[in-house]
């Protein structure tokens, strides 16, 4: 590998390594996250010419990480199905992030509600609220307009509120529907 390519990879890793590992940790267990993140950077190393420069690099890495995690999840499901078939055992529960265990009740309720949304809704909320991407970057990552992303986020929040069973008033705490709130 040439020095120029190595130098470019070092730069990408130095700037975005933590963000990519954190992205994976937010979506899977810590051990799996480390493995998945390394897979992302192996791909980045092999395709370093394709990695965009500047701020566009992070959405590219996130998109790669998303594909890597999806492929790993498919492989895991296949393995679980195979094991279940062989041992006639029920399927394992999908493991959440390790850190979920130490969170409070409110956060756990939110994570559970988030988990009931469609993968697209979950992803767009996580990208904006957890992974620190701007709405423009999320739009570029999904090859859609900024307006489409705004709409998707708004819709995802509406569904999240519904899942949480709260009426949402701006600048106020969530009110449970049972206490007179509207659905």
């Amino acid at each position: 590998m040439t020095d120029r390519r190595t130098g470019r990879f070092d730069e990408v890793y130095r700037l975005h390594g933590r963000a990519v590992l954190a992205y994976c940790m937010r979506r899977t267990s810590q051990q799996d996250a480390m493995d998945a993140a390394s897979e992302v950077f192996v791909i980045a190393l092999r395709k370093i010419e394709a990695v965009p420069h500047g701020e566009e690099a992070l959405p590219w890495l996130y998109a790669t990480a998303k594909n890597v995690l999806r492929n790993r999840e498919r492989a895991r499901r296949r393995q679980v199905r195979l094991k279940a078939k062989m041992r006639a055992e029920p399927r394992d529960a999908v493991p959440g992030p390790d850190v979920q265990l130490i969170m409070g009740e409110e956060q756990n309720a939110l994570l559970a509600a988030l988990g009931r949304l469609s993968p697209k809704d979950q992803e767009v909320l996580r990208l904006v609220e957890w992974d620190g991407l701007s709405r423009e970057q999320v739009a570029a990552m999904h090859y859609v307009s900024r307006a489409a992303i705004d709409k998707r986020i708004s819709r995802a929040y509406r569904r999240l509120r519904r899942e949480l069973g709260v009426r949402e008033d701006k600048h106020t705490a969530p009110v449970p529907i049972e206490d007179g709130g509207e659905a």
């Binding site: 890793y13 390594g17 480390m34 950077f41 192996v42």
Partner: protein, 102 residues
Amino acid sequence: MSAVEDMMRSSNPVPSPLETLTDDDMNALLLLTITRSNEMEDKGTPTTTEDRGSPRGWGIAVAAFAVVILVVGAILLIPRGDDPAPVDEPVATTPRTALRLK
């Protein structure tokens, strides 16, 4: 900012990667990446899930499928030779000798 948005933000499992992830974590990740990359180069085999499902492989599969469809389609569309060709009725002609006699 709405309360659910606040809840969403506060539920971030890794709110601050700079604080959560140490230099040791990052060095371990880099070592793992380099090891896997070297293994891949040594074996000449893909070790990432993305490589296994590379677009090139898909392209070849799609092209092969298209060729099969074209060949099958061409075979089906070619007129079959089972039906006998229509036999033309012989045209009634006047023998030249008869014309001369006239």
